[in-house]
Symmetry: C2
């Protein structure tokens, strides 16, 4: 890529508020250099003219790239090998007024040592409310640590609460984590997470479609959420109130045909109410990290069933169990009494009684039968 091309991409990244399908169409048609020339000259169709009018004369592309270079970052365009496979073809955004956010990003500003395309091939988004509970923080951390242990990258938004817990746990487990920002990669937001985001840039990835210096804003968070979903094989909502950005991320994932998972919590917890709404819809309930790996991992990486509690009666046949149950909890029962209670002919209870005695579950007393232990009632 020539310097002129790189400068053009950087200029285009700022000239319209991303994502801008009209701009993407022009770049696809004439290339970035010519697209930049036409926009500067105002020689574009009226709609793109309107979308670029306010910023077309602001050219800080060189300065933006200098900021990026100083931080050791890179501008990744669809022409780079590192460009990730994003699921932006033919999908409908969660709401009509958000349709314009449905298209792919024009470029990505990236910091960090990992390769974005490789990371995105095996990644899960762990997202949730900033107003999380200790429970949510615990689960987010537990899942994130488990995912990176299984070589799945943890994508999130760098926010307080669930996002932060997921990033921190991934870092603590020396795994790869990706923070997708709603502003420039040099605007570490929230400021209380600047140390965390620096650490992420040191071992994982910081990604933004906004050029340096752009402040996060409400609409940019919503736009950013679609990138979180697009970079992840599944989106896991750990805790979300009834009105939460995490639900927005989940709806982006669903619109892209990517699996949406949600973690249940107490129905008495407002921080889980949004998860429960998702679970009453099409979201998949996840209670263990393995269940996420099963979705984002390779075919055949199935979650192992958790061990079920066992009892000493598990290996008995149905008939043996009925005979066992026919022996009273206290005292001794004759074969005839057992036969009546079990509703079986007396000669048919003798075989089961012998099996039960061999299993150490009952013993004989004066020609009758007694339980070897207090039976558990089911």
């Amino acid at each position: 890529m020539t310097d002129e091309e790189r400068l053009s991409w950087a200029y285009l990244s700022r000239v319209a508020e991303p994502p801008c399908p009209e701009l993407a169409d022009l770049v696809a048609a004439v290339g970035p250099v010519e697209a930049a020339v036409r926009i500067r000259a105002g020689k574009v169709d009226p709609e793109l003219g309107r979308l670029t009018e306010a910023r077309k004369n602001i050219d800080c592309a060189a300065a933006d790239l200098a900021v990026l270079d100083r931080r050791g970052g890179r501008l990744v365009t669809p022409l780079h090998d590192e460009w990730p496979a994003l699921a932006f073809t033919a999908f409908n955004g969660p709401a009509v007024q958000e349709k314009s956010r449905g298209s792919a990003p024009l470029v990505l500003w990236v910091l960090g040592p990992q390769r974005l395309d490789e990371v995105a091939m095996r990644a899960a988004a762990i997202v949730g409310t900033r107003a999380c509970t200790h429970y949510g923080e615990h689960v987010a951390g537990d899942f994130a640590a488990g995912l990176v242990d299984r070589d799945v990258a943890v994508v999130s938004g760098g926010a307080y609460g669930i996002d932060g817990a997921a990033h921190r746990a991934a870092l603590a487990a020396e795994g790869c984590t990706v923070a997708v920002l709603a502003g420039g990669v040099d605007v570490l937001y929230p400021t209380g997470h600047s140390a965390l985001l620096h650490r992420i840039a040191g071992s994982g990835l910081i990604v933004s479609e906004y050029p340096p210096g752009v402040r996060p804003a409400r609409h940019r968070f919503l736009t950013r959420n679609r990138l979180v979903a697009a970079l992840s094989g599944a989106t896991v909502v750990v805790e979300a109130g009834l009105r939460s950005g995490a639900a927005n991320t989940a709806s982006w994932a669903a619109a892209m045909g990517r699996p949406v998972c949600a973690v249940p919590g107490p129905v008495t917890s407002a921080a889980s109410a949004g998860c429960h709404v998702l679970l009453r819809g099409d979201a998949v309930l996840v209670s263990r990290c393995d269940e996420i790996v099963e979705i984002v991992g390779r075919i055949g990486e199935l979650a192992v069933d958790p061990a079920h509690p066992q009892t000493r009666l598990d290996h008995l046949t149905e008939t043996e169990r009925v005979v066992y149950e026919a022996i009273p909890g206290r005292g001794v029962a004759s074969v005839e009494q057992i036969a009546v209670d079990a509703a079986m002919p007396a000669h048919q209870v003798l075989g089961p009684l012998a099996v039960l005695e061999l299993a150490g579950l009952i013993f004989e007393v004066n020609g009758g039968w007694k339980l070897a232990q207090t039976p558990e009632t089911p």
Copy 2:
């Protein structure tokens, strides 16, 4: 019904372990009196002969009915108006070895002032583990109280834990609750619940397909669970471990085509693990009583959506919101600065600015604009 018929029904209720489809077939073919005569004489086909051999000579029907009469109870048969509509036609039990339990009960032994058929038309089962947590107890009580407030009867198994919490809350709310027992209606089990079961018999219903004196046993709990499901428009599992009778009740409900609901809980709680397994299957997540009423109630009794948190920005258009966001959190921005940040032509931000000023969200300072309050970030 003649005394002879009543005595025959009572005799038949004990002569084979219920449910016994072979016995039901015979009664359907020749009536209860003739069926009893043939069984006593051993003049039945070999399989039914085997099933009735141990008990055919035990005739305590008169004594059983005397016990029932002393308690003010009644024997309800399919010939009575009170016989409930049970969903036992053409369904498969949860497991092959339990197939025989899938058929309808022969008769029901009933205590209590309510009409079983009417109660069953508007009832929900609230079931769960005996080893419940305070959370589960709270939710069971909350749902049960809410259901009876909405005139829905609460069906359960009378056990410790979730069952007991549901029954108690229904009684406390002066509503109708039904305990389905795994033994005779005179064997109040568990003994710690005998006072509770007496209270239920006083205002609601105690139901069993077992004649008086029959002890509860493991296989009878499983058989009883199908009746809990069959008497209820939906089965709600509040808390259940990975191995819980509640999951068995749920599988009966599912096999009968009745809705299965489960209450989520913390993924860290073993008492919710069974609910989460159900929710990863076809069970419906319920977090509020209204959502159960919506299922078991009349058509159109829809759960009201919970109030979502509102913000002052909710009524703004997308464009107005972008303009609002373009004003920095601190300081004053000129119209030109706002236009650049919003990526809109300067003349197009004037309208939105006026709307925002009228809404009290921003104000003018020396020709620039300032936020009226610290904006919430999403």
